[in-house]
């Protein structure tokens, strides 16, 4: 049969009917609109009886299309489409005419509202005439997750998913997992030892049957879509065979290059060229720093294979593994392919480079250090075994000035945001300092003290009141060296006086920044990032752990500054999303996807293959397809939409000059019908 459209005009109590004559709208619609065979009004369409009315009438009247004139589609489109399904009508034959938010509530004049409502309903009945049945797109799910980043966020998420019974692939670009949390001394507000809580988790992750770990590895590329991502992982040449190596330490003990700044210790200590980043590293197996190793330098200079260099072979000679040594100088990067169904991005942050603050002597004076450096100084496993010594001469500093908001909240340094953790960690630093240097004095320059967290305010107050840190409200204008002292010039805005402190050490509470390569990385994943290059969540309130790409989730500081509990919570949330996703064999997706024209031979497709659509597609959802003759020769190359990747924006359709690609649910005929029904003439 032809189209039979039912129109249901909702009173919404009096929300609509007070300013729109709903009876008249129904009447006019029935009288004038082609294809409309049934109209009615109802007090509350969204109520159970309202939905029942819809379901009953679809059946009784044999409706092939439905328009609900009611509130915004954002409210109840889903409700009514589901009701239609129950009556056997394809839900994509149901359209909503928004006569509440965009009519009755904004136009108090009843004749005006009635006229506009009638128009809005007509536009929708015309669209419904062109609606096509759409089937939800079923996507197969690969039950395996990828976690990018092996810090606390990644480890937490990995453990949660692995415990949930699914395989996890973890990729960490450093030689060990652990991330920033492994570097911390104690954690606020409890002052428990960071490594003491972190290391067991690292071990657990390493030993978990469901977790495969790739350290010293990076993501080469990610293609595919929700449920079916194809991931290429670059395993960077470690020069050490992880299977053979026992981590016996023989090699790094003999390494002659001993003056390389340790990244883990924030440059406060040195390491060798073959090294493990820190004693508790996982895997506890070394890597050769090819930049600094003299053998590799020599090989590069002579343009020979590393193994052919004879400059220094101390580590390989020292390696007790036989007959094949665990060290392989000629090892090359390896690309491995994995298929996963979901991805959690937990790539963390980096600390703002201190050099940015020349006026504070950052990067210039050894004794002006960053928060992370202080963490290493205060750490029992750090370069000073937890003793607070200043880097320049190892003296115990008696006056330490902590400067907060270094970078943070300072648009001129590129960080207009608050790094959220610094107030707390500075308070912690003052305490740690006072615990270790009892006679020392801590000054803190701050703008505001932000301690919004359970036990945070109390913790901060303790630093001031019990531990005697002097908090000065104001900015530091300059730090300069005078003898072996650092003169800190600042303002105390509360007293309105200029403050000059002769300090032994200055600690900058440097901002948390997005990783340097965050932008390129986001593009690799087709996820959005914000102005500060932190990855964007899908919705700031309601979808805080989803990225803008389906199947990719965010955890931890890659999404924005966070402290540990928040990071762990978000990691858990992301993991639970992934677990939900991996719980079914197939996923159903909204079928609002683009479609490239296909026809019978000899036309095949009106697409001419200029691939503008491919170039504008934000999701790389357009592929090229060769249409071949029986003999295998290519007749034409045309575009094809990968339904799994397509998110239904319609960019391709608007870009296509011949309109050979259209968006289901918003196809050309539907849009044309709507415009046509505006009917001003």
């Amino acid at each position: 049969m032809g189209k039979k459209i039912g129109v249901f005009v909702c009173h919404c109590g009096t929300n609509i009917s007070a300013t729109v004559d709903v009876e008249k709208v129904a009447e006019e619609t029935k009288k004038n609109n082609p294809g409309v065979s049934y109209t009615t009004t109802y007090k509350y369409m969204c109520s159970d009886p309202g939905q029942k009315l819809l379901r009953d009438k679809i059946k009784e009247e044999g409706l092939t299309g439905v328009v609900i004139a009611a509130c915004s589609p954002k409210m109840h489109e889903h409700t009514f489409r589901n009701a239609a399904i129950k009556s056997g009508l394809n839900p994509y034959h149901v359209e909503i005419s928004n006569i509440r938010e965009q009519c009755s509530w904004v136009h108090p004049d009843k004749p005006v509202g009635t006229e506009k409502s009638t128009d809005l309903v007509r536009m929708m009945t015309e669209k419904v005439r062109k609606d096509k049945s759409l089937k939800p797109i079923k996507v197969h799910v690969t039950k395996r997750a990828l976690i990018i980043g092996g810090g606390i966020a990644g480890i937490q998420a990995a453990l949660d998913i692995a415990d949930g019974g699914h395989e996890v692939i973890m990729v960490e670009r450093e030689a060990s997992i652990g991330g920033h949390m492994a570097q911390l001394s104690e954690t606020f507000p409890t002052l428990d030892c960071s490594q003491c809580i972190m290391t067991p988790k690292m071990v657990e992750a390493a030993q978990h049957d469901n977790i495969t770990m790739h350290t010293w590895s990076e993501i080469e590329s990610i293609t595919g879509y929700l449920g079916n991502f194809d991931v290429k992982i670059r395993k960077k040449a470690r020069s050490v065979d992880l299977d053979l190596c026992t981590g016996c330490s023989s090699c790094w003990q003999v390494c002659p290059c001993k003056k390389i700044k340790s990244e883990f210790d924030m440059g406060l200590a040195n390491r060798t060229a073959i090294y493990i980043p820190f004693p508790q590293a996982i895997p506890s197996k070394p890597v050769i720093d090819r930049e600094n190793c003299i053998l590799f330098k020599d090989a590069r200079k002579k343009n020979i294979k590393p193994n052919d260099s004879k400059v220094c072979r101390k580590c390989i000679d020292a390696c007790p593994i036989a007959p094949v040594k665990a060290i392989d100088y000629n090892q090359e990067d390896e690309i491995i392919d994995v298929k996963v169904g979901a991805i959690i991005v937990a790539t963390g942050f980096r600390e703002l480079e201190d050099g940015l603050y020349g006026e504070y002597g950052g990067g210039k004076y050894e004794d002006v250090i960053t928060g992370m450096q202080f963490e290493r100084l205060a750490s029992a496993s750090g370069p000073t075994d937890g003793k607070i010594k200043r880097p320049s001469d190892g003296k115990e500093p008696e006056i330490v000035v902590f400067i907060q908001c270094v970078g943070s909240r300072d648009p001129s340094k590129g960080c207009s945001y608050c790094s959220k953790t610094c107030c707390m960690y500075t308070a912690k630093h003052t305490m740690l300092y006072k615990h270790k240097v009892h006679h020392g004095h801590a000054f803190v320059f701050y703008i505001d003290i932000r301690c919004a967290g359970k036990g945070y305010e109390e913790f901060s107050q303790r630093a001031i009141e019990e531990e005697g840190a002097t908090y000065l409200r104001g900015r530091v204008s300059r730090v300069y060296k005078k003898g072996d002292k650092l003169i800190v010039l600042g303002a105390d805005t509360l007293t309105g006086s200029v403050v000059e402190i002769e300090a032994d050490m200055v600690v900058l509470a440097s901002a948390m920044k997005a990783q340097d390569d965050a932008e390129q990385f986001a593009q690799k994943l087709s996820i959005q990032y914000d102005k500060d290059k932190f990855f964007s969540e899908m919705h700031p309130k309601l979808k805080p752990v989803e990225s803008s790409s389906a199947g990719i989730f965010l955890a931890g500081t890659c999404q924005g500054p966070k402290d540990i509990p928040e990071t762990v919570a978000q990691a858990g949330a992301a993991a639970s999303k992934v677990l939900a996703l991996l719980s079914s064999d197939e996923l159903e997706r909204e079928p609002v996807v683009a479609r490239v024209d296909r026809q019978l031979p000899p036309v095949f497709s009106t697409c001419i293959g200029c691939f503008y659509c491919q170039k504008v597609c934000p999701y790389s959802a357009i592929e090229s397809e060769d249409i071949k003759a029986r003999d295998g020769s290519v007749i034409k190359t045309v575009a094809r939409v990968n339904e799994g990747l397509c998110q239904g924006c319609g960019l391709c359709a608007a870009t296509c000059r011949s309109k050979s690609i259209e968006l289901d649910g918003f196809n050309d005929e539907q849009i044309y019908a709507e415009i046509n029904a505006v009917e001003f003439n």
């Binding site: 049969m1 032809g2 189209k3 039979k4 294809g35 065979s37 005439r129």
Partner: protein
Amino acid sequence: MENIYKPYLMNISDIIDEAPGVRTFRLNFLNEDEGKNFQFQAGQFALYSVFGYGESTFCIASSPTRKDYIECTFRQTGRVTNALSELNVGDTIGFRGPYGNVFPIEEWEGKNLVFVAGGIALPPLRSVIWNCLDLRDKYKNITIVYGAKTVEDLVYKHELKEWNARDDVNLVTTVDPGGETPDWAGKVGFVPTVVEETAPDSNDTIAILCGPPIMIKFTLPVLEKLGFKQEKVYTTLESRMKCGLGKCGRCNIGCTYICKDGPVFTAEEISKMPDEF
């Protein structure tokens, strides 16, 4: 002066879904006088229009012996047929016709008839089949060979049943291999093969053939093999048409205008046309 492009207005009085995308309309003249004066013969076609979408050409599928209405069967393929399929009983369409020549059924009197149709090409023959069946006494044996891709694609399923039940019609239905259902009682195979198996003696027999080009191409040699002379084989051609009146200039094959000189041709006539179908 009369406007030759002005259509009759017709009311859709019934709609039958025949097969996926294929639908039959029963049409009645809105103006009863026009209806009374209207006459056509089997084989003729018309232009059906949905106002706002344009005109589309297809045959009249009902028999001239049934005078109260006109029926047409169409498949949804283009702008107009898609618009037609949105219509309901009670809606109005335009109808321009009848146009073209006719099947010479008087000449066929006293002869055996074999109708061969494939897929959506049964409608063009339905008119003439019913016409002959309604004048059943005038013809000898009547055989109908009808094939489609799948069982679902067969059109006029009720009438096929009716013809099958009649003992004065020999109906052979077939579907392409793979198109059969478990309870399919007809044949499985392509039309040309089935024709070869089931066609009656060519002696004193007229063959009327309609189907997609590929079917025609392979059936004609079969008929020839069976001894059918070219002038005893009739078919009806279709083409893109706009006016139906021999003016718009696109339906010609050589100097033959399908809309005026056709659509009914014998295989002999077709063999003389240039190869530009």
